[in-house]
Amino acid sequence: MPEVIGTTVKEGLFDRILSLLSLLDRIPEYLSDEELEGVSAFLPDDVASTMNAFFHPRVRRAGIKYMKMVSRWVQEAKRAKQEGRKVILMPFNFTPEVIHAFEGAFPLTSEVLTTLGVGGLEGQGQRYWDYAMGLGIPDHLCSSSTIELGSMLAGNDFEVDGIISATPGGCDANAKIHELVSHYLDIPQFILEKPVDNTERGKELYRRYFHTLVEELEEFIGEKLDEDRLRFVVENCNRASELYLELWEMRKNIPCPVPNLFSFFSYGCRFTMWGRPEAVECLEIMVEESARRLETGAYPAEKEIARCGWLYTGIYFDFANLYNWMEEQGYSYLWDVLNLCYPQPISIASRESMIDGLAEANWNMPMTRQMGGDSMSLCWLDDAIHTIKELNANCAIFCGHHACKQTWSVISILRTELMERAGAPVLCLQGDSWMKRMTPISVIQREVDEFVKNVVAPRRKGRKKATRKGG
């Protein structure tokens, strides 16, 4: 291990990300094209590609704000650790605002760290995946968590104090790898199971589980949730929810005025700084930018050809060549499943009402809501049909992330039903959403392009023709 002036250089994903984001933090709010080009020239290809995507002129203002927010999130985790606060690792389907409501704790999200590693590190964090494989962990686990957790397992990463596992009931792969890390590194684990039961019985059980979890966290952190602090956090959540829904409303317009990447940025806020003013500020900029585009009728392509709903996750190893590329072809990326968190206002009347509201927010988190439902296919299908109709989507794309055994097991039902009930053709891709090793972006582009040109566009023309004939 190299030594630098008496300090051990950390090789873990978190510390490498921290170094990079600390640099990005110094970037001014307004960056010229020349300045961006200059900075990119010094960066390794993988990093420069993400930066160029996030700081593309169409999304630059929001991109910079988003990166600064994430930078603050990572730096604050580091500082929290130094100050003796508890840093809690959690999956994306747990609401971070619960942890933000504790003065003595800070949340870190496994999948967000992985995504930052994939987008921000040379080699895209694959070395950590390889390390996990070296331990004998099966290669069919989910890279979204295993890349970051592989780094932790390697023993040279940031050390978290506790792990929340909120995926039992929703995703075996995620729940099992978090459990293994908890045992391997001897870190306490707190479990929030999602009962696969959408009846009142199931909801009541979940509410009780959630209250128990809060009590366990209070004991672990050594602090009772303070009502005023909780109220401050919930008020921020409510404001963020308003903005999130405002952005959602704007997506109904044709052409879609919301840039493709805002889908990713908005759930990036949801999974990190929700409940904090930083998420509110980031969402405000996204709303402003989209409103401006709506007002001017701006759209990156000559016309909007495809309005795509991504049925499950997106793809995160090449932002420029997916989100930005799609937009330039006239293919709007309206949402993916991670956007389907259905934020609702939470009553701030009492501590109890706020905790109940947070329990409900957790119930509605992506994947929990669909795959943790009493029927994976029906809960997922209901949300997909509703969203397709609400946002006037004319097609759907399934990313085909190989580790998603639940979605893969019922995608055939969705494909049939979406066509029959919503008239939406479905493209099923295959690959890994966080690793380019399985299916390169060029293949994904080609498949999306062929799907739109051969299936979506002709149907669109056919519909127009029929409408004209019908008068």
Partner: protein
């Protein structure tokens, strides 16, 4: 490796059929059969309703072409094999299904099976993934719904009295299976691992009374039998393995599987029963959830590890084979932890990832088992 008696011959013959002769006879009498998959399904309730509880199996069926139109290549091949048999008519004798949330693959299998076949009776028994007071209370409620659903649909009253009678019968079966395991795990094992699996498999596909009788006969036959000619005593742990042939192949190269921690094996009956005066449904809820030694349970790994270590010690094994089907997350990850813990306890481990029912895989597996046996002497 050892001589077979008439009872064992009968067990082997019947266990190789999906619709065995006892099921055929049952159906010919106009009686109903309910299918289920997981060990967490209290079959006693089905039996107390006068129905035959039948645990779904695929018996190494390698064909999945119909199932593959519904499940994907990223789903476990055991589930795909079972679905195939559900779709190709092999399971036409079932009068309904009990779904349980064993794992993501199984849930998908059930959803597709029901989507295509539309059983008139399809009940979902929702089993918590953790063992807490709230979870138990919920599961007790689930048991009530389970009894009610079966009772209402099949127009039968499942009385506490009948339930208690069946529970006693099942308890007797568990006792006898433990005797069978004593014979198997002893210093001079009286049966092979393949035979033991066949016995347990048949037990969840015939009426309890029939199985009790067969068990008595098998125990009688094997009490004084000695299996010889093996190189090492092994424990087999891991995933849904109903492949008798798979164990036979391991044993063909000299590794005698003297005990197991399989869900079609010992984990299906190694249950601590609750005594005392109690509502039978409540007793069943506790018995099943508290003893669910399955990696789909969370916060309970150390119970599973201790269970395996106890079996290792009891059966005095020379090595452990940990197996999981490709894409099985719950066993795939648990086996990593188990390997580490077994090795800490100086138990040599062979970790195998395999495709279910794939004969083409057997050559590779045999080579690895042979190498493992060389290694452990």
């Amino acid at each position: 490796m050892g001589p077979r008696g008439k009872a064992m011959e009968e067990v082997i013959r019947q266990s190789e059929m999906i619709e065995n002769d006892y099921v055929k006879k049952w159906k010919s009498e106009g009686k109903k059969v309910l299918g289920y998959t997981c060990v967490m399904t209290p079959a006693e309730v089905i039996e107390a309703a006068g129905l035959l509880p039948y645990r779904i199996r695929a018996l190494g069926n390698p064909h999945t072409e119909m199932a593959d139109a519904h499940l994907s290549r990223f789903n476990c091949s055991f589930c795909r094999s079972c679905l195939q048999l559900g779709l190709d008519g092999t399971y036409e004798f079932l009068d309904g299904l009990i779904e349980s949330n064993g794992c993501d693959h199984l849930r998908g299998m059930f959803e597709n099976w029901q989507y295509v076949k539309e059983f008139d009776f399809f009940h979902y028994l929702k089993v918590p993934h953790i063992m807490t007071r709230d979870a138990m209370e919920y599961f007790e409620g689930e048991m009530e719904l389970y009894r009610k659903a079966i009772g209402e649909y099949f127009e039968v009253e499942i009385t506490d009295r009948e339930l208690l009678r069946v529970m006693e019968e099942y308890s007797l079966i568990r006792d006898k299976l433990r005797v069978l395991y004593e014979i198997r795990e002893g210093e001079n094992p009286g049966m092979t691992g393949a035979e033991a699996l066949a016995v347990i498999l048949l037990g969840s596909a015939v009426p309890a009374g029939v199985f009790l009788d067969l068990l008595d006969r098998v125990i009688e036959e094997r009490r004084d039998t000695d299996i010889s000619g093996y190189r090492a005593r092994l424990i087999l742990c891991g995933a849904a393995t109903d492949e008798v042939d798979f164990i036979r192949e391991i044993e063909s190269v000299g590794g005698l599987v003297v005990t197991d921690a399989l869900c079609y094996g010992s984990r299906a009956f190694w249950t601590v029963e609750r005594g005392g005066e109690e509502d039978p449904l409540k007793a069943l809820a506790h018995m099943y959830l508290e003893n669910l030694l399955c990696p789909r349970m969370f916060d309970d790994y150390y119970s599973r590890r201790d269970y395996v270590l106890a079996a290792v010690s009891r059966a005095n094994v020379d090595g452990a084979i940990l197996v999981h089907n490709k894409f099985c997350d719950v066993h795939g990850v648990d086996n990593v932890q188990l390997r580490m813990d077994l090795e800490k306890n100086d138990i040599p481990v062979l970790q195998l990832e395999k495709e279910y029912g794939a004969k083409a895989d057997l050559g590779r597996i045999k080579t690895r088992v042979q190498a493992f046996l060389e290694k452990i002497g």
